[in-house]
């Protein structure tokens, strides 16, 4: 198991470098560069050239790539071309914010999605099932930015219960941190909950139809025990896969909600960096996103091993 773990983690390095290289070249193919992005409409050709020289962008592409690669392999994430400040510290602040919201959103979708799916499956074709399925469809169809704005208008403006945007670090003030977390996490969690609910329902229905379940019932086991002892672990496998993918998208895919709630996460950071052609920033955030997604996938794989004793890694 430990060898497996080591191999997976080592494999992470070429993967990160590969994606990083791909992104580097893709970004440089796009028209325009940092100079044009920073100068906006004031971008006269002469001024663009001057700024380009100041930022070191007039070096040939392969030179810039090798310099950047060298720097990155030494663990130096570089300096932002737009702010002139080192990227490492900036990421260090935004990473906890992203982790928090990923965790909180995951909490919400587990808390809502999973039970909703279970209830729908165990009360199939009843009113409860119908309502659960309607809720799931609603959660899937509602765009998260619309939900975000409705939540903000209701809880911040009308009811004055929660702040409308912003972020307070956990270490600074726990209560304020949580108050700022609730709305964005809910906006993100609801859509994910819907996906998980539907997946749980169909997976559980599948398992409930199996012979061994009929056997267990025939043996006289109470339905609760049938569910918990025999069904859930089997039903959870595909659900965890889906949940893992959903959580993976939270690293970099939360741009709109981050924008609305002014939440300083990585999603907004990488999008702004792309629009401003801030090559070092994009590179650094891509590394973080790749690492996060891979680690989450690893956790999903280990969860498999926990659930299904037939799965072994070595």
């Amino acid at each position: 198991m430990n060898r497996y773990l080591a191999r997976r983690i080592l494999a992470l390095i070429p993967l990160m470098l590969g994606v990083w290289t791909l992104v580097f070249f893709l970004l440089n193919i796009l028209p325009g560069d940092t100079a044009i992005a920073i100068l906006g409409v004031e971008a006269s050709p002469e001024l663009v050239q001057q700024v380009r020289t100041n930022l070191g962008l007039d070096l040939p592409l392969h030179t810039r790539y090798i310099q950047a690669l060298f720097r990155t392999l030494h663990g130096d994430l570089g300096i932002s071309l737009v702010t002139g400040r080192p990227i490492g510290p900036e990421l260090l602040v935004r990473l906890p914010a992203t982790l928090e919201i990923a965790l909180a959103a995951s909490f919400i979708f587990v808390l809502i999605g999973f039970p909703l799916g279970m209830i729908a499956a165990t009360h199939r074709n009843t009113v409860t099932d119908f309502i659960s399925r309607m809720l799931a469809v609603a959660g899937l169809s509602i765009p998260n930015f619309w939900l975000a704005l409705i939540l903000m208008l209701t809880f911040s403006l009308r009811l004055r219960l929660l702040p409308s945007e912003g972020y307070v670090p956990l270490t600074e003030d726990l209560l304020q941190n949580l108050r700022h977390l609730i709305l964005p996490a809910t906006a993100l969690g609801v859509a994910m909950a819907a996906v998980v609910a539907r997946m749980t329902r169909s997976s559980l229905l599948d398992v409930l139809g199996q012979d061994f379940v009929r056997t267990a019932r025939a043996k006289g086991l109470p339905p609760g025990k049938v569910l918990s002892r025999h069904c859930l672990r089997n039903a959870l496998l595909p659900v965890i896969t889906v949940a893992g993918i959903e959580v993976g998208t939270l690293f970099g895919g939360t741009v709109i909600v981050e924008q609305i709630f002014a939440w300083p996460g990585i999603g907004r950071m990488v999008l702004d960096a792309i629009f401003k052609r801030d090559y070092p920033s994009v590179g650094a955030t891509v590394l973080v996103i790749v690492a996060s997604v891979v680690i989450i996938n690893m956790m999903v794989d280990f969860a498999y091993a926990l659930l299904d004793p037939r799965i072994r890694y070595d």
Binding site: G32, G40, T83, G84, S164, A262
Partner: protein, 510 residues
């Protein structure tokens, strides 16, 4: 007798009581202290005044630094580091510095610092977009510590206004040279000091206790927050998450006007939005085609539809009528018949396809494009709207002249020179349509050397008449960009050059 005395006393008491109760309560005395929170339209990129800061960074810079002169709320010049100035001859300006103004690191501000700062902006290696505005300056002389003299290559009456530009900050040389950039603010001498830059693109400022104005600022701290989403920023001032929300446009202004806990400022700001027609492409090289388009547009409808009414139609020149140099009478009225006539006699009598590029995040531009599409249809001009979400992808072709038409705004304008020179001069840096008229070039140069404001206004009016008639660009609207603030925020005022200068006079009634 006593009765008389009593009566006189009583009368006197009553009369003085009446008089005193009629005396208006004296103007409220500003309260000191407190923290003011301001919502900005985006993250601060770099707080270096000379290195092309973006709009939010410019807001920050203007509070941390001092200038020779600054704009007041009516866009006239007022003293800042310079207490007075005069024009000693047609090619020289003399500014007298105040004594006792100090940089945040404690050292007194002298003329050597002013000389260093201006020369830094003028140095091509700094890469400042403001460099060309100092093109008339030959030498900057700092012969005595409190006097600075500008010697010009040719007479130029715009120089003092250029010195009031938020990017023309006076910086402390030793800080710049040590850091090789201005990312820390000990280089400034402004009313606030930079405590820190926050990770979400904001900043925390503290009151400068050594500011030369001993009264101001009144607040102890200013927190700048980046809230890029327009709806969120508007909501933030309603929920008290911020005290002041900046850059509010179109329907946001409409919504806020209905909220009694919020004051919405006058939204006058010096930008103009145009439909740029690339004169290097057929049939847009034909002036009658361009005129047809200019006459076909219903600018009032565009202001109503795209801006929810929060803007001024530009039916004459690019400078809005509320500005001293704006033309007060309209040149264009929506006249489809006239437009059709013009097109019929042009090189494209049967209409043509027109591709209009727009940058997707500007919804007030995208909406305007749709309305223009409708309005040009009766002429047989088929408009295709091309939206781009990525700024460099959108702007690059425009910059290189590879486009038909685009709708864009040029902002930060306070003096007619800002509106006119670089956009309409042959080869100007903002002349994206390739327009060229030697008469206009000549007039623009003449305006700079004309001494009186009345004569200047006349020349600028003439320039605007020509560029409007020749349709160098189709002028569409001047959008309102308002600031909204809570009712307990006192003393604040909106600046038409969109800086936060009003913060210096602001106090909190809490």
């Amino acid at each position: 007798m006593w009765k008389q005395r009593w009566f006189a006393l009583l009368t006197w008491l009553i009369v003085s009581g009446l008089i005193l109760s009629g005396v208006p309560a004296s103007a409220q005395v500003p309260k000191r202290g407190g923290t003011l929170t301001v919502g900005l339209l985006g993250p601060i990129d770099r707080p270096d005044p000379h290195a092309n800061p973006n709009q939010p960074a410019l807001w920050l810079v203007q509070l941390l630094y001092s200038y020779l002169v600054q704009y007041d709320r009516n866009l006239n010049l007022r003293p800042d580091l310079a207490t007075s100035w005069e024009r000693t001859d047609s090619k020289s300006y003399v500014f007298h510095l105040r004594r006792g103004a100090r940089f945040h690191n404690g050292r007194e501000v002298t003329s050597a610092d002013v000389k260093y700062s201006i020369e830094r902006i003028m140095d091509p290696k700094t890469g400042s977009s403001r460099r060309l505005r100092y093109a008339s300056v030959d030498k900057v002389e700092a012969s005595d510590p409190y006097t600075i003299v500008f010697r010009l290559k040719y007479p130029d009456n715009v120089l003092p206004y250029v010195l009031a530009d938020p990017a023309s900050a006076v910086v402390a040389r030793e800080v710049v040279e040590k850091e090789d950039n201005l990312l820390r603010s000990e280089a400034g001498s402004g009313p606030f000091k930079l405590e820190s830059l926050t990770s979400d693109g904001g900043a925390v400022l503290v009151r400068n206790g050594d500011y030369y104005d001993k009264e101001k600022p009144y607040v102890d701290r200013v927190i700048l927050r980046s809230i890029p989403d327009n709806s969120a920023r508007m909501t933030a001032v309603r929920t008290k998450d911020v005290d002041i929300a900046t850059f509010l446009v179109t329907h946001q202004i409409e919504v806020l006007r209905k909220d009694p806990t919020v004051v919405v400022s006058d939204g006058r700001s010096g930008q103009y939005y145009i439909l740029a027609l690339n004169t290097r492409r057929k049939p847009l090289d034909d002036v009658r085609v361009r005129q047809a388009i200019a006459w076909a547009l219903d600018r009032n409808a565009i202001v109503k539809g795209a801006l929810s009414g929060e803007g001024f139609p530009l039916d004459a020149g690019p400078i809005p009528a509320w500005h001293w140099a704006g033309i007060k009478t309209e040149i264009f009225k929506p006249d489809v018949a006239k437009a059709k006539q013009l097109l019929a006699s042009s090189s494209a009598p049967n209409g043509f396809m027109l591709n209009i590029r727009v940058w997707a995040p500007q919804d007030y531009v995208v909406d305007a494009a749709s309305l223009i599409q409708e309005q040009l249809q009766p002429l047989g001009i088929k408009v295709q709207i091309e939206q781009q979400a990525d700024w460099p992808t959108y702007w690059n072709p425009v910059q290189n002249g590879n486009y038909d038409a685009t709708i864009q705004g040029f902002g930060g304008n306070t003096h007619p020179v800002d509106w006119l020179d670089e956009s309409f001069r042959t080869g100007g840096t903002l002349n994206i349509t390739g327009y060229s008229n030697p008469k206009v070039d000549d007039l623009l140069q003449r305006a700079r050397v004309t001494p009186t404001p009345e004569r200047q206004a006349e020349i600028y009016a003439e320039v605007q008449q020509i560029i409007a008639q020749e349709v160098a660009m189709v002028f569409v609207y001047n959008m309102k960009q308002a600031t909204a603030y809570r009712t307990d925020v006192k003393g604040f005022y909106h600046m038409p050059n969109l800086t936060l200068a009003g913060v210096v006079d602001t106090w909190l009634d809490r």
